[in-house]
Amino acid sequence: MASKRAKIFSITTIPGFTTLAIITFLVLYAPIATLVIYSFNGGTSVAAWGGFSTKWYAVAWENSQVQEATLRSVFIATLASAIATTLATMAALGTTRRGKYKGWNFIYLLINQPIMVPEIVTAVALLIFFASIKVATGYTGLGYLIAAHSAFCIPFAYLPIRARLEGMDLTLETAAGDLYARPFTIFRRITLPLLAPGIAAGAMLAFVISLDDVIITEFVKSAGQDTLPTYMLGQLRRAATPEVNAISTALLVLTVLLLTAFFVLSRKRD
């Protein structure tokens, strides 16, 4: 009965479904495919094909500005995702390890604020806020970028960790306590190992989000603090060569790898 119903109302029977699906995927992936193809362009244009070559990868690899920006991006993303994941883990424990209390929804909203508030608003707010700190302290280092990245990465780390915690059987912690484990030992021996895939997934997502950020970084960075994405934006404003395609493709491969790891980890059940 149920399967019969499903057949009658199946969306795949709507005329043109297959065509529409193919068009949707084309629109989604054709630009990315073009980007990847032109990263192997032997010519100097991002639009006119000049034969196959991997020379732009070599150019990008040897470009000291690209090297610097890449290292800076990775440094910021590593620190920011570590800080965000730690805070997100604590927030997730705090919001799942006790009953729903008054104002719970409000706290949930606060934690996920960076997802809800338009990024440009956060960017402007941070620009003004950090400017006054810069004036007051004279500090102009990478700390601002790290703090900003940590903040907007929190919800991305929080969501997979919370999902993992909510799926965890609380009786396991009770059982550990019954078997003479003290609260901190329970956390270390039971909760943390079971939570690890969620934490790793959260950290990876946070890392990718940080690595990818343009808007907030563009507003917060001081002179000489270009990350890879802001460097690429700067390059495109001047002359676009397939070097940008090559960097983008490398970034794409890295992101796909990390996100695949994220999905594998967040699906892990034991």
Binding site: D169, T171, T174, A175, G177, D178, L179, Y180, L194, D270
Partner: protein, 355 residues
């Protein structure tokens, strides 16, 4: 309290705050559980049996009253300071640890030496016949095997008391019967006090030294299985443990007068005053059906159960009675609805309920 008392629950009360006011889960319960005893808390869901178990384990603290273990008040102690272990209904085996690591967890937490942990864990694996599976993860085991690991894990630290929260309810019938024997064997071999929670009256009767029947946060009766079955204190206990016929009657001298006008012998008459209205409990297997010499009754229905046949009877005044008769080899009891019969009771089978 005596030297033989293991757990002494004194007027324990537990009240929960709910959105619609407070809920009394446990209403001033007092009970003494002896050392080395297989003690069962029996009752329907919501009767407070699991709450009482959680109070003893230390997962909850009593709103009032105290709980003593070997004469010492443990009400204020956290679970990890109580020499009491629990077998959970869901088993709650640690999924990231192997069978061996699960069983040794408690011993490690107690800070036992490596040698002792290994030796004791091997002993426990032997005891529950899981040595071959020692390096598997819990999810690679069947329900019955997980159950045995949960038992071994709780027994390995050699607790004073083992608490079992409906541990057999997730198993199928055949496995449940096997595990009942297994549990009883483990209890006899280890000599540890077992407190077993169940809603299954058969489980309670077959396994326990003593049973406490609970309802609405109170203990109604404590006794050994035979006492509980043959001399239930009230209608609820009589009905919850096995099937029972209830007949209204009044005390008439040393006998009771039924609503049909007949007088019959009954035990427990002396607890009531002359003329008092009482309820009689009679087990269906103690009802005799013959041709003459008893109460006149009419067969209303016969229900065939294989080994037994249940005969639904109507007495002269319309009150109903069920007789359980052993089925003859042919399976045909030879009594059709409408047949006139004569009903009598085995001596001592008619019980006047106290309340």
């Amino acid at each position: 309290m005596t030297d033989k008392t293991s757990v002494d629950v004194r007027s324990a009360r537990k009240v929960y705050d709910a959105t619609s006011g407070t809920v009394v889960a446990l209403d001033s319960v007092s009970v003494q559980i002896h050392k080395g005893e297989f003690f069962t808390l029996l009752g329907p869901s919501g009767c407070g049996k699991t709450t009482l178990l959680r109070l003893i384990a230390g997962f909850e603290s009593p709103t009032a009253g105290e709980i003593l273990l070997n004469g010492t008040d443990i009400s204020g102690k956290p679970p990890f300071e109580r020499p009491v272990n629990t077998v959970f209904q869901s088993y709650a085996l640690f999924p990231h640890l192997t069978v061996r690591q699960n069983i040794s967890f408690g011993l490690e937490m107690l800070g036992r030496s490596k040698d002792e942990v290994a030796r004791k864990t091997n002993e426990m694996l032997e005891l529950v016949k899981m040595t071959a599976m020692a390096d598997r993860k819990p999810q690679q085991l069947s329900g019955g095997q997980q159950q045995r690991v949960a038992l071994a894990r709780a027994l390995s630290p050699e607790p004073e008391v083992l608490l079992l929260d409906e541990p057999l309810s997730a198993l199928d019938l055949k496995l449940r019967k096997e595990m009942q024997h297994e549990l009883k064997r483990l209890q006899l071999e280890t000599g540890i006090t077992f407190i077993f929670v169940t809603h299954d009256q058969e489980e309670a009767l077959t396994m326990s030294d003593r049973v406490a029947v609970m309802r609405d946060g109170r203990i109604l009766q404590v006794g050994n299985p035979r006492e509980i079955y043959t001399r239930p204190v009230d209608r609820f206990v009589a009905d919850f443990i096995g099937e029972t016929n209830f007949l209204s009657a009044t005390i008439d001298g040393k006998k009771v007068r039924l609503t049909t006008g007949d007088t019959i012998a009954a035990s427990g008459v002396e607890a009531h005053t002359e003329g008092a209205a009482v309820t009689l409990a009679i087990r269906p297997e103690q009802v005799r059906v013959g041709d003459k010499g008893g109460l006149a009754a009419t067969v209303a229905e016969t229900v065939y159960f294989g080994t037994d046949t249940h005969l639904h009877l109507t007495l002269g005044d319309g009150s109903e009675l069920v007789a359980r008769l052993q089925s003859p080899p042919s399976g045909e009891i030879g009594l059709a609805p409408g047949a006139k019969v004569s009903v009598s009771f085995t001596e001592g089978a008619v019980q006047v309920l106290e309340q």
